[in-house]
């Protein structure tokens, strides 16, 4: 019998990586994301680019001064170099953002996936727990827990943010798993006798994680903002610590007189969030063969 040829298709874009590298969105966003991560790991290299590079060498005489040579971002209210502060601030902020996003994603995928796949009482229990966390006033909960913990570092803040952040994403995962589980290809895989882990990991998960990935990228910004809110309330990172959240909070009060205090940290924040969002988007597309081709 004569062989039939598929409708369309070009050869080398079938693997995820080459396809990814041809997407400008992915290349630019991953360069930025990597840069931000490098800054997080070795801030001293970047902090010293323009001036002395020490975020703690402050002179009150410089308080709130606008940018000058050697101090491209100017000085904050304490008279510290704002540029090196922003660079060092990336450390806590990005660390918390990455930790929380990863933690939330893992919990959401596991619980949401199980609830969606098994349904019945598993779903009932998970869904009720999600409802509890949804209905609970998260901010109050976070304050109470952090207050009792009395240790306020990146890890504790992250844990608290994960605890109150997973429910929303889990609901999204549950929904898309539910849609995937009822598809015929899952029935077909069950029909050949595949085990539950195989069905879940090979078929259900890859086909339902897309929306969760995109949402996680968007969450990065929210997490950094939440961290700053906790700091503002006095239960987040404590003042000797440097983070974008702390900086943004202080800057709010001086926005009318010293706008650069707000502009520079938020510029960094925006670029970081944007690159993570684009990264999530590009990754989702790349792992979906239908979207892999550049239009």
């Amino acid at each position: 019998m004569a062989s039939l040829t598929p409708v369309s298709g070009s050869a080398d874009l079938r693997r995820p990586l080459p396809a990814l590298l041809r997407r400008p969105g992915f290349v630019i966003s991953s360069v930025f994301a990597v840069l931000v991560c490098v800054i997080t790991v070795v801030p001293q290299v970047f902090a010293g680019l323009f001036g002395h590079g020490d975020p703690r060498r402050c002179d009150l005489a410089d308080s709130g001064l606008p940018p000058t040579p050697g101090h491209p971002f100017g000085f904050d209210i304490q008279g510290c170099d704002l540029y090196s502060n922003v660079v060092y601030g990336a450390r806590s902020s990005v660390a918390i953002a990455v930790l929380v996003t990863a933690g939330v994603l893992v919990i959401a995928v596991v619980l949401g996936g199980l609830a969606g796949y098994f349904g019945g009482w598993v779903d009932a229990v998970v869904s009720r727990v999600m409802d509890v966390f949804f209905g609970f006033p998260a901010l109050v909960g976070m304050i109470v827990i952090l207050q009792t913990l009395s240790v306020h570092n990146e890890v504790t803040v992250s844990l608290v943010l994960i605890l109150f952040g997973w429910a929303g994403l889990a609901r999204v995962v549950r929904g898309s798993v539910l849609a995937t589980v009822n598809s015929e290809y899952v029935a077909a895989t069950r029909g050949i006798g595949a085990s539950v882990p195989r069905i879940l990991l090979r078929h259900v998960l890859p086909n339902s994680i897309g929306p969760a990935l995109v949402l996680s990228g968007l969450n990065v910004g929210l997490v950094i903002a939440s961290e700053s809110a906790l700091t503002f309330l006095g239960v987040g990172l404590q003042t000797p610590a440097i983070s974008w959240g702390v900086q943004l909070n202080t800057a709010q009060q001086y926005f009318t007189t010293n706008p650069h205090l707000l502009i520079f940290p938020s510029l960094f924040l925006t670029v970081t969030v944007l690159s993570f969002v684009l990264l999530g988007d590009a990754l989702r597309d790349a792992f979906d063969p239908r979207l892999r081709y550049i239009r």
């Binding site: 598929p6 290809y185 895989t189």
Partner: protein
Amino acid sequence: MTETVLEARDVVRHFPIGGGVLRGPAAHVRAVDGVSLELREGETLGIVGESGCGKSTMARILAGLDRPTSGEVRVLGRPISGLRGRAMRRVRRDVQMVFQDPYTSLDPRMSVGDTVREPFLVHPDLAPRGERDRRARELLEIVGLNPDHAGRYPHEFSGGQRQRIGIARALALRPRILVCDEPTSALDVSVQAQIVNLLDRLKEEFRLAYVFISHDLGLVQHVADRVSVMYLGRVIESGTQDDVYDRAAHPYTQALLSAAPRPDPGLRGEREEIVLEGEPPSPAAPPSGCHFHTRCWKADARCAVEPPEFRRHEGARPGGTHLVSCHRA
């Protein structure tokens, strides 16, 4: 007498509807309500019926994808109701399913080669590691696809080609029985012909027996040796292809046959047309007595009260198995 390879006895499947976590279900949809079938070696059993008659639920039960509420399914003589784990997996090899919609029955994220190879990963004893690639390519070739396209993804193929991929996957386990649930209803006529011919060829090559489910009477007549007609979860008539198509005894079968359009304008106005009133009632609240009495032009008082027995048709040929469930037949 040839061996019976697949048998269903009084299969019932009720789906709960409504209700919640703590309350019981508000009602039950009686999707399948006591169906008995028998498929013999090398035979094609057609199941016809309109939407909601339970034919697709029956397909899933026969393929082991769903468990009956009560009743029994036997594959090669072994009951499968109690089986789990390894034993169930062994039975699954013998019954495979071809799905209705080629657009949703393939994982969009898996290359077709991986899709066809997957059965070998689940049943490693079927093919040694080094063999699997070759076997998958072979299967693609058998169903009429270019094995060099194994690296492509489902969206790169047309509907008919996807259906071939689904068939290749089903064949990987060397099943004895293929349950085809409306395998061509999503396809164009010319493509349907390709798939029907392919199934016909594979039947010989792989010594398969088919359960062929469709709403298309003409198609079932073409492929089936024996036919069961379903209405609201029950088989109302069954027999050989000739019994059902030429000597239909149940009013519903007669109406169904008369309503099916024929591709012959010469018959226009010639053939007797029975146009039924209304639509099939909901399987959540089937009518009393004979399920069909609400739409039947032959129904009398008895039909509304007393469910007819599924019995041998009086007009059946000696030794024949023409069964019908009607007081008036």
